[in-house]
C-alpha cells in the first residue's frame, strides 16, 4: 500500500491529487485557500483525503507541494527589509533597471518601485574587470560603514552583488565572509550564488527577489512541515519549481526564486503528462484563472523554457517554463467605454469579491457572469460544490450594459464572451508568431477552473481545430506536481569565442556545472536513475541576444567547436529563418540540468466502446445570436469511445466544458474529451 500526494495552492482553491499506487486510482479534490492561516488549507485537504478517499498518511511516500506564497509576497510587497551592497558608482542599478517602461505612449509611465529603496543601497569600494581581474579589492572600511548604516535602518538581510561577479565571485565571497563574522544575525545572499548570469541588473534583481521572500518562505515551509508531521506523513516535503521540476524543502529555503512560478509551471507539466500519454505532438495550453489567461507551448509533451519571465514587473534570470499571460480571466470585468464600445478587463474582480454571481459582494459583470447568463455555467456544481452561483445577481450586474447596448441580457452576455475571447487572441498570436507555428498544427488543452468553458470558443477564434480536455482539468497543477522530476539547474557565463583554442575552458565550465548540478541532486536524495542535460547559450558575435542549443555529452569529449557551431547555425535558421555559417560564434553561457525522474504516474487506458451518448437532458444555450437546444452531459457518463456533438455542455465537479455547434467530441482511452471542429 503506497500513496503519492500533489498539492497546488492557487488564489482561490487548493488543489489536491492523490494517487493510490495499489489501485492506480487518482483522486482529486479542491478546498478553499486560507490566506490568513497559511498551511491550514493543506491540513484541511489532507483530512478530507483521509476521510473520503481512505488516504493512509503513513503510506504516503511522496508529497509534492506548490505554493504562491513567494509570488504573493512580491506582488503585495510584504517581504523583508533588505540592504543591497553593490559596486560603488552603480548604486542606482535597481532604479534605472533597463530603462524601458511598459506603455511607452504614456507620459505618466513609471518603473515599479524597487524592492530595496535607494537609501538602503550602499556602494562598496571594489572593482573587478570584465576578465575577472581585480582592479580594486573590496575596501573593508566601506563594508563596515555600509553595515552600520544597514543595521541602523533596521535591515534584516543583505544582498551582495558586484559587477562582473559572473566571471569571478571572489569579491562577493570576501564581503559575504566578512559579513558573516561582523553580523551573524543578518542573512546574506550573493547575486552570483543565486544565479551567476552576465547582466548585472537581471542578476542582482534575481538575488534581491530571492532574499526578499526568503524569511516568509522559510517560515511557511516550517509550518507546512509541521502540518505534515501532525497528519502523520513522514515523506520529505518536496516543492514544485518554476522550471517544472521539484526540489527538497531544505533547498527551497535558500533557493526561493526557484519556486516563485511553481503553480503555473506545474500546470504545464501536468498538461505535458496528458499530452505525452495521448501522443499529441504540439499543444497550446490554456489556463484560465480569475484574473488572467495563461498560455504555454508543449512540443512532444515538453514545455518551452525561457529566462526572462517577470514577477511584478521584475525580471527573473533563472530558467522557467515559458508562460504568457493576457489580462482576460473569469473575473475580468465588462464595461462600456465613453464611445459605447464593449470592453472586457483588464480590471478584474479577482477571487475577492469575485464574479457577481458568487454573491460575495461583486456587483459588476464578469466573464463568469456572462457564461452563466449564456447557460454555459450553472448546469452543474462549481468548484467541487464550493460555490453556488446566483443567476439573478449576474442579471443585475449586466443590466446596465444590456440597456446601453439596447439588447437583452443574454445577447449582452454573449458579446462579453466574444470580446474576452478576442482579447486572448492577441497574446496567442504573438506566441505563435515568435515560435513560427501555425494554429492549425496545434491542439488546444484548456485547464484551470474556467479554461474548458472557453477553450473551444478560443480555438475557433484562433483557427485551432482540435481541443483536448483532460479528465480532471481543474486539478492539472496538482497532477503536474505528482509527475514533476527532481531537478537542479546550474549555469555559468563564460563569454568566449566558439573556437577549438578556447575549448578547454568551455569543457571545464561544463564539467564544473555538471558536477554542481549532480551534487545538488545527490544531496536532495531520493531513488531512481538520474540524467544530465547540457546546453550552451550561443550567438553571432555582435548579437545582443543568445540562443540556447542543447549539447550532447559526447560532444564534450574532444574539441568540437565546429560541431557545436553547426548546431547553432541550424537552430538559428529554425528560430529566425536565416543563419550565417561564415560568421564567428560566441559562447555566452553554459547550462546544466540534472534530474531524477519522478516515478511515472500510471495513465490507465480503458477500451473504446463506440457509441453515441444520449444527453442527460436538453437545456437552452445562448450562442451565435440565439437560444438553441443543447445536450447536457455529465463527464462521468462519457465512457471511452462515447461520441456526442455540439452544442453541448459537459459538467464535472471541477469545471464545465462547452462544446459549441460545429464541433464533435469523443472520449479517448485515457478519458480525455477530444473535440474536433467539423
Amino acid at each position: 500500500m503506497a500513496w503519492r500526494v500533489g498539492v497546488d495552492i492557487g488564489g482561490t482553491f487548493a488543489d489536491f491529487a492523490a494517487l493510490d499506487l495499489e489501485s492506480g486510482r487518482l483522486s482529486t479534490l479542491k478546498v478553499l485557500t486560507t490566506p490568513t492561516a497559511p498551511g491550514e488549507d493543506v491540513a484541511a485537504g489532507l483530512r478530507r483525503l483521509v476521510a473520503d478517499e481512505k488516504l493512509v498518511p503513513a503510506a504516503v511516500e511522496r508529497f509534492v507541494h506548490g505554493t504562491t506564497v513567494g509570488v504573493n509576497t512580491i506582488i503585495q510587497r510584504r517581504g523583508t527589509r533588505l540592504a543591497l551592497f553593490t559596486t560603488a558608482g552603480f548604486t542606482d542599478m535597481l532604479e534605472l533597471a533597463r530603462l524601458r517602461m511598459p506603455d511607452p505612449y504614456s507620459l505618466f509611465c513609471e518603473r515599479p518601485e524597487p524592492l530595496v529603496p535607494r537609501e538602503h543601497v550602499f556602494g562598496i569600494a571594489e572593482r573587478m574587470d570584465a576578465e575577472g581581474q581585480t582592479l580594486t579589492a573590496p575596501d573593508v572600511e566601506s563594508v563596515k560603514a555600509a553595515l552600520a548604516a544597514a543595521r541602523a535602518a533596521g535591515c534584516e538581510g543583505i544582498v551582495v552583488s558586484f559587477l562582473h561577479a559572473w566571471r569571478n565571485d571572489a569579491h562577493e565571497q570576501a564581503v559575504a565572509t566578512l559579513l558573516a563574522e561582523l553580523a551573524p544575525e543578518l542573512f546574506v545572499f550573493r547575486g552570483s550564488e543565486v544565479w551567476p548570469a552576465i547582466r548585472e541588473y537581471e542578476r542582482t534583481t534575481t538575488g534581491v527577489l530571492n532574499a526578499y521572500v526568503h524569511p516568509r518562505i522559510d517560515a511557511y515551509l516550517e509550518r507546512v512541515e509541521g502540518q505534515l508531521k501532525a497528519a502523520g506523513i513522514a515523506a520529505p516535503l518536496l516543492l514544485t519549481t518554476s522550471a517544472g521540476g521539484t526540489m527538497t524543502a531544505q533547498r527551497g529555503r535558500r533557493d526561493c526564486v526557484g519556486m516563485l512560478l511553481s503553480g503555473t509551471a506545474s500546470g504545464v507539466v501536468g498538461a505535458g503528462v496528458v499530452a505525452k500519454a495521448a501522443g499529441v505532438p504540439a499543444v497550446l495550453t490554456l489556463d484560465v484563472g480569475g484574473t488572467s489567461a495563461d498560455v504555454a507551448l508543449l512540443i512532444d509533451g515538453v514545455p518551452a523554457f525561457g529566462s526572462g519571465q517577470t514577477i511584478g514587473e521584475f525580471p527573473l534570470a533563472i530558467p522557467t517554463v515559458a508562460v504568457i499571460s493576457s489580462g482576460q480571466g473569469g473575473g475580468s470585468i465588462a464595461h462600456l467605454d465613453a464611445q459605447g464600445v464593449l470592453q472586457v478587463g483588464p480590471e478584474s474582480a479577482g477571487s475577492t469579491p469575485g464574479p457577481a454571481c458568487f454573491g460575495r459582494g461583486g456587483a459588476r459583470c464578469t466573464v463568469t457572469d456572462a457564461a452563466l447568463l449564456c447557460g454555459i455555467l450553472g448546469q452543474g456544481e462549481l468548484g467541487f460544490g464550493a460555490i453556488a452561483p446566483d443567476r439573478s445577481l449576474s442579471e443585475l450586474a449586466i443590466a446596465p450594459i444590456a440597456t446601453a447596448l439596447g439588447v437583452d441580457a443574454a445577447s449582452a452576455a454573449e458579446g462579453v464572451l466574444k470580446v474576452a475571447i478576442s482579447g486572448m487572441l492577441v497574446e496567442i498570436d504573438k506566441l505563435l508568431a515568435r515560435a513560427g507555428l501555425h494554429a492549425s498544427e496545434l491542439v488546444l488543452m484548456p485547464f484551470g477552473g474556467a479554461g474548458p468553458m472557453l477553450g473551444a470558443l478560443l480555438a475557433e477564434t484562433a483557427g485551432i481545430r482540435r481541443v483536448l480536455v483532460p479528465p480532471v482539468p481543474g486539478t492539472l497543477c496538482a497532477l503536474g506536481a505528482l509527475a514533476a522530476d527532481l531537478r537542479r539547474d546550474t549555469m555559468r557565463t563564460v563569454l568566449l569565442p566558439l573556437e577549438d583554442a578556447f575549448w578547454s575552458p568551455i569543457a571545464e565550465g561544463f564539467a564544473a556545472i555538471a558536477g554542481e548540478a549532480e551534487a545538488a541532486l545527490a544531496e536532495m536524495g531520493g531513488a531512481g536513475e538520474s540524467s544530465l542535460q547540457m546546453a550552451a547559450d550561443l550567438r553571432y558575435r555582435g548579437q545582443s541576444f543568445e540562443l540556447e542549443v542543447p549539447v550532447a555529452s559526447g560532444l564534450l569529449e574532444k574539441p568540437s567547436a565546429e560541431a557545436l557551431a553547426s548546431l547553432f547555425h541550424a537552430a538559428h535558421e529554425e528560430a529566425f529563418g536565416h543563419s550565417d555559417p561564415g560568421a564567428p560564434v560566441e559562447v555566452v553561457s553554459l547550462r546544466a540540468a540534472a534530474r531524477r525522474a519522478a516515478p511515472p504516474v500510471p495513465m490507465p487506458r480503458r477500451p473504446l466502446v463506440d457509441a453515441v451518448i444520449a444527453p442527460e437532458k436538453t437545456i437552452q444555450l445562448r450562442l451565435e445570436g440565439g437560444w438553441r437546444e443543447a445536450g447536457l452531459y455529465r463527464r462521468v457518463q462519457l465512457h471511452p469511445g462515447g461520441r456526442l456533438s455540439g452544442p453541448a455542455i459537459v459538467t464535472q465537479s471541477d469545471c464545465t466544458v462547452l462544446i459549441p455547434a460545429g464541433w464533435n467530441a469523443s472520449t479517448d482511452e485515457l478519458g480525455n474529451l477530444v473535440m474536433e471542429h467539423i
Partner: protein
C-alpha cells in the same frame, strides 16, 4: 457607426492581433542587431486609402500610429495587382519615409479583384550609403549626401522580385547583405499582414471588415475629439528652442500656436525658424496631419485618456499649418537625416502648448534629449575594430499632476533601453566608472522633475572615437510649469574635476586620449508647482534617498536640516516664509536671457525678413543676422534685423 459595439471591439482585437503578429514576424526574422536592439521599426494595418487603422503596441517605435500612406501609394507607377509589394525611402516623395535609412513597404490586399486594405511597415536600415557610415550626420547639408533614395517603387511585381532594384540597393550601401536581410524581414511581415487580413475577410465577411476598418478610424477620431472637447477653447502659444541649428550654430526656434475650438484643434507652426543648413530638417511636405508633427499629440492624448486608440482617425481632429521652407516643412534638397533631434523638441513644443490649455492635467517638460552614445575602437580582446553602443543617456520625466517625474527616463523617452554594463565592458575597450542618477538635477517643484542620468567612463584605446548623437538641452533647459523650476541642463565634460577639465557642450564627436575621463549628464525633467509648497516630508525623503543635497533642499525648497540630516523646523518655517510665491512658466535663465535679446518684436522682424527671401537663402542669412545681433550688444535685435531687410531679389 456601421458596426455594432460588440463586433467593433472584437474586430479591433483581431486587427491588433494581426498587427502584433506582423511585428513579431519582423522582429524574429530581422538580421541586424540594430533593429533587434533599438526596435527602430513600425507596423501598420492600413485601409484601402492607406490610412493606418491598427498598430502593434508591444514592439517597435512610437512615432507612426497615425501615419498616412495615401500619397506614397499613389506615386507608384503602373497601378497595383495581387502579389505586388512596393517600397520607398525618399523623404521627398510622398513624405512617408522621413530620412533615407527608413524604408517603408506596403502590400495591397485584394479581394475579388479589388484592393480592400494594405499591410505596411517601416524599418531603419543601419546604413544606406552616402557621405558617412550609417548615413546620418549633422555635418551633411543636402539630402543627396545622405545615401540612396528610392522613390515609391515596386520591389515585387505580382510576386516576382525586381532584381534590378535589389541590385541597385545592394550596390549603393555599405553592408548589402544586412540591408537585404532586414528588408526580407519586412517583406515577411507584410506577407503575414496580407494573410491575416484575408483571414479577417473569411471570418467577418468583406463588407463587415471594410465597414469595421472605417469605424475603427471613426472610433479613434471620436475618442480624440472627446479629449479635445474636455479642454477649454482658446489660443495657446508656445515656443521652444533647440540649442543649435547646426554644429556650433545658433538657437533653432520652434513656435506653435495651438487653437482649440470645440472638438478640433489647429497646430500652427508659423514663426518657426527657416530650414537649417544641416540635417535637422523635418520633411512633412506640408501634410496637415503628418505623423512626425503629431507624435507629441499622441502622448498628450494618451496622458489625458489612458489607453486611447491610436490610428489615423486619431489625427483627424488636428490640422497642422507648416510654412513652406521652415524647419518643419523644408524644401528639397535640404538634408533631413538628423530630424530626430528636432523631433524631440517638437514633442516638448506640443507638450508646452497643451500644458497651457490644461495645466492641471499635464506634466512639465521631460528632459527631452536622449544622447545616443557609441564608442568605436579596436577591442584588444577580439582584435577587431567595433562600434559599441554604450548607453542612451536619458533624463527624467517632468513633474506630473499626481506625482514627481520618473527618474532617469520617462515620458517620451520611455521606449529606450540601456545595455548591461557587463556586456559593454566585455565588448568594448571601455571602463564605466559611474552610471546612475544625478542628484539635484530634477526641476524643483511641488512635484519635482525626474532626475538626470550620469555616465562616466574612460578608455585605454588610443584610437577611440566617441559619438554622441542627438545632443541638446545643454543651453535651453526643460521648462517648469505652475511655478515649478526648470530641470538642470545637460552637460558633456572631459576630465571633470581636474585642472584639464573641458566643457564639450553639444559636441557630438570626440577622440579621447587613453586615460581621459568622459562624463555626460542628461538634462533633468522640469518641475511642476511652487517648490515652496512641496511637503517637507517629501523633501526629507529625497534627502534621505540622496536625490537631493542639503544645500539644494535649502536653496530650492526652503527645507533646512542639521548635520545629522534632522529637520530644523524653525529654520525651515522661517526660510519658507521668506520665499517669494512662484507661479507660471519658467524656461530657465538662458532662455530668459535669449528672449530678452531676441524679443517677440525681433523675432517678428526676423520672420518677415525670412519670408521675403527664397527658402534656400534663409539658412545662411540667419547665420549673418544672428552674428550681427551678437556683434552689436548695444542695439536692439529688432533694429539690427530690420537693416537686413532688402527687396525680394528678382529672377534674371
Amino acid at each position: 457607426m456601421r458596426t455594432d459595439p460588440v463586433t467593433l471591439q472584437v474586430l479591433r482585437n483581431h486587427c491588433r492581433a494581426a498587427a502584433e503578429s506582423m511585428a513579431t514576424t519582423l522582429y524574429r526574422t530581422a538580421h541586424s542587431t540594430f533593429v533587434k536592439e533599438t526596435e527602430d521599426f513600425t507596423i501598420q494595418l492600413l485601409d484601402a486609402q492607406g490610412k493606418t487603422c491598427a498598430v502593434p503596441l508591444d514592439l517597435g517605435a512610437t512615432w507612426y500610429p497615425g501615419v498616412d500612406y495615401e500619397a506614397a501609394i499613389a506615386l507608384v507607377p503602373g497601378g497595383y495587382q495581387p502579389g505586388d509589394i512596393a517600397m520607398t525611402s525618399d523623404p521627398y516623395s510622398g513624405y512617408l519615409s522621413t530620412h533615407s535609412p527608413d524604408t517603408n513597404m506596403w502590400k495591397p490586399v485584394f479581394h475579388e479583384g479589388k484592393i480592400i486594405a494594405f499591410a505596411g511597415g517601416h524599418i531603419h536600415n543601419v546604413d544606406v550609403g552616402g557621405a558617412v557610415p550609417a548615413s546620418l550626420s549633422r555635418t551633411l547639408t543636402e539630402v543627396h549626401q545622405e545615401g540612396l533614395r528610392i522613390p515609391p517603387s515596386k520591389l515585387y511585381h505580382a510576386g516576382r522580385l525586381d532584381e534590378t532594384l535589389l541590385r541597385t540597393i545592394q550596390t549603393n550601401v555599405r553592408v548589402p547583405d544586412q540591408n537585404w536581410g532586414d528588408l526580407k524581414a519586412l517583406v515577411a511581415a507584410v506577407n503575414t499582414g496580407e494573410r491575416r487580413i484575408l483571414d479577417l475577410v473569411r471570418r467577418f465577411g468583406v463588407a463587415t471588415l471594410v465597414d469595421g476598418l472605417a469605424d475603427l478610424l471613426d472610433y479613434g477620431e471620436k475618442q480624440a475629439r472627446a479629449v479635445l472637447a474636455s479642454l477649454p477653447d482658446g489660443t495657446y502659444r508656445f515656443t521652444d528652442y533647440c540649442d543649435e541649428d547646426g554644429v556650433g550654430g545658433d538657437p533653432l526656434r520652434l513656435n506653435l500656436t495651438l487653437r482649440i475650438q470645440g472638438d478640433s484643434a489647429e497646430l500652427d507652426f508659423t514663426g518657426t525658424d527657416p530650414q537649417t543648413l544641416c540635417s535637422m530638417n523635418v520633411p512633412t511636405g506640408g501634410h496637415p496631419r503628418h505623423s512626425l508633427l503629431l507624435v507629441g499629440v499622441y502622448y498628450v492624448l494618451s496622458a489625458l485618456h489612458p489607453g486611447i486608440t491610436l490610428n489615423f482617425g486619431t489625427t483627424r481632429p488636428f490640422t497642422c499649418i507648416t510654412p513652406e521652407g521652415s524647419v518643419v516643412n523644408p524644401i528639397a534638397p535640404a538634408a533631413v537625416g538628423m530630424r530626430s533631434l528636432t523631433c524631440a523638441r517638437l514633442r516638448s513644443l506640443v507638450f508646452g502648448a497643451f500644458a497651457q490649455a490644461a495645466p492641471e492635467r499635464l506634466p512639465a517638460a521631460p528632459a527631452g534629449s536622449s544622447s545616443i552614445l557609441n564608442l568605436a575602437a579596436e577591442n584588444t580582446r577580439t582584435g577587431r575594430r567595433s562600434i559599441a553602443a554604450i548607453a542612451p543617456i536619458v533624463g527624467g520625466g517632468g513633474g506630473m499632476p499626481h506625482r514627481d517625474g520618473t527618474d532617469g527616463s520617462g515620458a517620451d523617452a520611455a521606449y529606450l533601453k540601456n545595455s548591461p554594463i557587463e556586456i559593454t565592458e566585455a565588448e568594448a575597450p571601455v571602463r564605466i566608472l559611474r552610471y546612475g542618477l544625478m542628484p539635484d538635477t530634477g526641476g524643483p517643484g511641488a512635484h519635482r522633475g525626474g532626475l538626470a542620468t550620469v555616465l562616466e567612463f574612460t578608455t585605454d584605446a588610443p584610437d577611440a572615437t566617441v559619438t554622441a548623437r542627438n545632443r541638446d538641452r545643454s543651453i535651453f533647459q526643460p521648462w517648469g510649469i505652475l511655478g515649478g523650476k526648470p530641470g538642470a541642463p545637460s552637460s558633456f565634460t572631459l576630465n571633470p574635476g581636474t585642472p584639464g577639465e573641458k566643457d564639450l557642450g553639444n559636441t557630438d564627436l570626440l577622440n579621447p586620449a587613453p586615460g581621459d575621463v568622459v562624463r555626460i549628464v542628461s538634462p533633468g525633467g522640469g518641475g511642476r508647482g511652487d517648490p515652496a509648497t512641496r511637503p517637507v516630508e517629501a523633501v526629507l525623503r529625497d534627502l534621505r534617498a540622496g536625490r537631493l543635497s542639503p544645500a539644494a533642499a535649502k536653496e530650492d525648497y526652503g527645507v533646512v536640516v542639521d548635520a545629522t540630516g534632522s529637520l530644523d523646523e524653525a529654520a525651515t518655517t522661517a526660510r519658507r516664509a521668506g520665499m517669494t510665491q512662484r507661479d507660471g512658466f519658467d524656461g530657465g535663465r538662458t532662455r530668459r536671457a535669449h528672449e530678452a535679446r531676441w524679443t517677440e518684436e525681433a523675432y517678428a522682424a526676423f520672420g518677415r525678413l525670412m519670408a521675403s527671401q527664397p527658402p534656400a537663402w534663409r539658412g545662411r542669412l540667419k547665420r549673418q543676422v544672428f552674428a550681427a545681433v551678437r556683434a552689436t550688444p548695444g542695439r536692439s535685435a529688432a533694429e539690427v534685423v530690420a537693416e537686413f531687410a532688402t527687396p525680394r531679389p528678382r529672377r534674371a
